[in-house]
Amino acid sequence: MSNPRPLHQFLCDAAALHPSRIAVVEPERGAISYAALDALSDRLRDRLVTLGVRPGDRVGLYLRKSIDAIAAIYGILKAGAAYVPVDPDAPPPRNAYIMHNCAVRAVVMERRLEDRFSTEFFELGELPPLLLLDGAGGGGPLARLLDEADAQRPAAAAKNAMSPPEDLAYILYTSGSTGKPKGVMLSHDNAVSFVDWCSAVFEPQPDDRFSSHAPLHFDLSILDIHVALKHGAALVLIPEERGKDALHLARLIAEERISIWYSAPSILSLMAQFGDLRSQDCSSLRLVLFAGEVFPVKHLRTLCSQLPQPRYFNLYGPTETNVCTYYEVVPPVPDERTSPYPIGKVCEHLRGKVVDEHNAPVKPGEEGELCITGSGVMQGYWSLPERTAESFLVDDDGTRWYRTGDIVVEAADGNHIYRGRRDRMVKRRGYRVELGEIEAGLYQHPLVKEVAVVAVPDAEAGVRISAFLSSKGTDKASLIELKRFCAERIPLYMIPDHFKWLDALPKTSTDKTDYQRLKELG
């Protein structure tokens, strides 16, 4: 906490230095300057304060990625509240659960989502004030909403909150093993120390143009948004509906002159295979950053051979710490290399240690669980004190180490090599998936007696998820019915690739589900 300042101060400072530079670009929908973004977020701050939002509150963000959404993030932060972004395409019951769970004081959302959200929320409690935008794109809908609200009752001018370092800046919900998503609480200090680390390592300049590929509820977005806007650079938003279109993305890098790209490896794999990168002018790219899952070496090799000029960084870290280790991959990738690259060394603003099952540090070269401490580590899980306590290892001197659940080996040169998970979480296309959350979703099906979900490595897709089910009677739901049932309850990226009905699930000698047997079948 060498230099405590709230996260939103980055935007205020950049707007003072570079008022007329472009802050955010939304291809085909418009762009906004630093001065205008700062002013629009000030107006939302005033409206939120008039509505009763106070420092320490939470405000939900339920809209597509857009200039409106970025302005809303800063408006919420300036009011002193933490923003809680949700996936606008996720099932409404899940989003209502999240908003209710962290007791949001208001929700900034698109009007098209209101009906189902309100219906779902009514079952849980009293609906908070909703700021309803007619669509989201270009910043116009947010400005119009504020104009209309001002016409009815002008908002008094408020001041930017002086959020102390420990105040929450945002809560990111991730998959929970019990079937309910859990809220990872990140403070201003967590965010600012991470952003400052990025500044030191990647040296962004005002001329840089950052991609914003990750959705706002995903921790990769923290780097995109807050590092770009700290440095007076341009943030180029890539809408989620175009985010998997490899050809479109490759063209966008060329047309928008992207200089810093950041996404999950699966997206870069798609671009390497289907993006026709060689015929695009990607000479503007100077950094390619990836995180969220293991990058299959085969596809990384293809990517590096098509685009040899940028520097490549493998970033690793759970939402609870954001990036906590990093490794620079220097092209070309040798033909004989088959093992994934290391996750690298611990970031300079953090410290790491590798421990065995008795929490004792292991020797270099031995496997153990990676634990992380320092200014980037989360405050805990929202209203889950027990789950929070379990996730930390506390030294005698009070140092709190976050247990990543990832099994690693520290090599002699200080680089860490990822080996696997301690529990039942998997990464799929960069998203965290708790297999238990899928099981909890499927258990709600009236025909399902038992269900077990396993993940097995897959050379092409990284991981393949299979669900095994047994029926209460003789009726079995069809594959299509099961997939549609899942789509109503869990995010699309969690839906299993395969479903298989068994007469009964295999059991171990202690009568537990035999996941090892199922993995062989999966």
Partner: protein, 85 residues
């Protein structure tokens, strides 16, 4: 003699074989929401587009390869039919 290609049948067979092995064909109706219903994920959609581009020499514009155009067998078939002409 050139007859028009029955894309509805072809798309349906391809989806059944590739993504829904063992499924009863009657369950896969022409208007079933494929993407929003969780039947096809983004990678599956991409595979489907590439397959038909290669098989029939069709080129889809980026803006056509989206949920609006690809969410049902009926809409995929009509897109392919319009392109194959």
């Amino acid at each position: 003699m050139e007859t028009s290609i029955d894309f509805r049948r072809i798309v349906k067979d391809y989806i059944l074989e590739e993504f829904l092995p063992g499924e009863n064909p009657d369950e896969l109706t022409d208007d079933l929401p494929l993407i929003s219903g969780g039947i096809l994920d983004s990678i599956a959609t991409l595979k489907l587009v590439l397959h038909f581009e290669e098989q029939y020499g069709i080129v889809l514009e980026a803006h056509e390869a989206d949920k609006e155009h690809l969410d049902t067998i009926r809409s995929i078939a009509s897109l392919l039919t319009s392109k194959a002409r």
